[in-house]
Amino acid sequence: MENHVKKHPGYSTYIFVWLALLAFTSITVTVAGIDLGNYTMLVALGIAAIKSVLVINIFMHIKYEEKIFKVFLLLSLFTLLSIFILTLFDIIYR
């Protein structure tokens, strides 16, 4: 049986990632109480993006997978982002 998957991390890595996710959650809840004007949503989405990177890379093992998974992921992210940016332009310049 061929094994082309790189070694997955041990228990401790997952626990550290979980602690980081909890820390980011408390940051996002705390920051939500502060009025940052137009940046409030950007900060919230930024923190959500950091949490996603942690979940996708470590919990979902993307960091340890073959290159093809990363290509797929970037392609779908790019598609989603294009749809959002194009729609935002439509809203702003309508």
Binding site: M1, H4, V5, H8, P9, G10, Y11, Y14, I15, V17, W18, L21, L22, T25, T28, V29, A32, G33, D35, T40, A44, L45, I47, A48, K51, S52, V55, I56, I58, F59, M60, H61, E65, E66, I68, F69, F72, L73, S76, T79, L80, I83, F84, T87, L88, I91
Partner: protein, 207 residues
């Protein structure tokens, strides 16, 4: 899946890499499904920023935060379950899947209390209270019910999938050398967690 036909040697055909690619492709269709809803949300939030802010005050940040912590922890337990079976520790893997299921039920119980509180205040699609509200607030609550509802449906489906995995783990159909099913079930569960990571600030943390 081996079929023991007479005379043929038992050849177990397996393609773990293919199975995982298939799972990821499915997850991308899920991302587009929710992505479309996030797009509608973005569109209306820009148009009705003030109404969204007022409507969001109705949501319970505490219960939202609690559910975030529960889901993040359930993601950890799934990841640990996979790590455990990779090390050949079936007992710990079974324990972690059981914990995940408990967290999932806790999430749904919170959701039940959250929704029933809203409904008892008359806030549900088509109610008289809702129809009195300005357009932006109606849109906010509509999106709230559809998006967290679809997410909750995914939690329920995740529970069923993880339940099947639990049985297979205990029946030793998922083993140290053959655990791609559990990994794919885990991927599904992490996606449910990922979607919540975005739902939480967009609905519960608007000030």
């Amino acid at each position: 899946m081996s079929s023991n036909q007479e005379g043929t040697a038992v050849h177990v055909h397996r393609d773990d890499l293919g199975a995982k690619i298939g799972m990821w492709l499915f997850l991308f269709t899920e991302v587009l499904l929710f992505g479309g809803m996030f797009l509608v949300y973005a569109f209306y939030r820009i148009q009705h920023a003030d109404h969204f802010r007022v409507a969001a005050m109705e949501l319970d940040t505490g219960i939202g935060t609690l559910n975030t912590i529960i889901l993040l922890t359930s993601s950890l337990t799934v990841a640990l379950a996979i790590a455990a079976i990779q090390k050949g520790n079936r007992f710990f893997s079974v324990l972690m899947i059981n914990l995940t299921l408990i967290f999932a039920v806790m999430f749904m119980v919170n959701k039940y209390f959250e929704w029933s509180a809203k409904i008892s205040h008359g806030i549900y699609p088509g109610s008289n209270v809702m129809l009195e509200l300005p357009n932006g607030q109606i849109l906010f609550f509509g999106l709230y019910y559809v998006m967290t509802g679809l997410h909750a449906l995914h939690v329920v489906i995740g529970v069923v999938i993880l339940g099947v995995m639990l049985i297979q783990l205990m029946k030793k159909k998922i083993t140290q050398d053959n655990h791609v099913k559990l990994e794919n079930a885990g991927l599904y569960w992490h996606l449910v967690d990922l979607i919540w990571i975005f739902l939480f600030p967009l609905f519960y943390l608007i000030q």
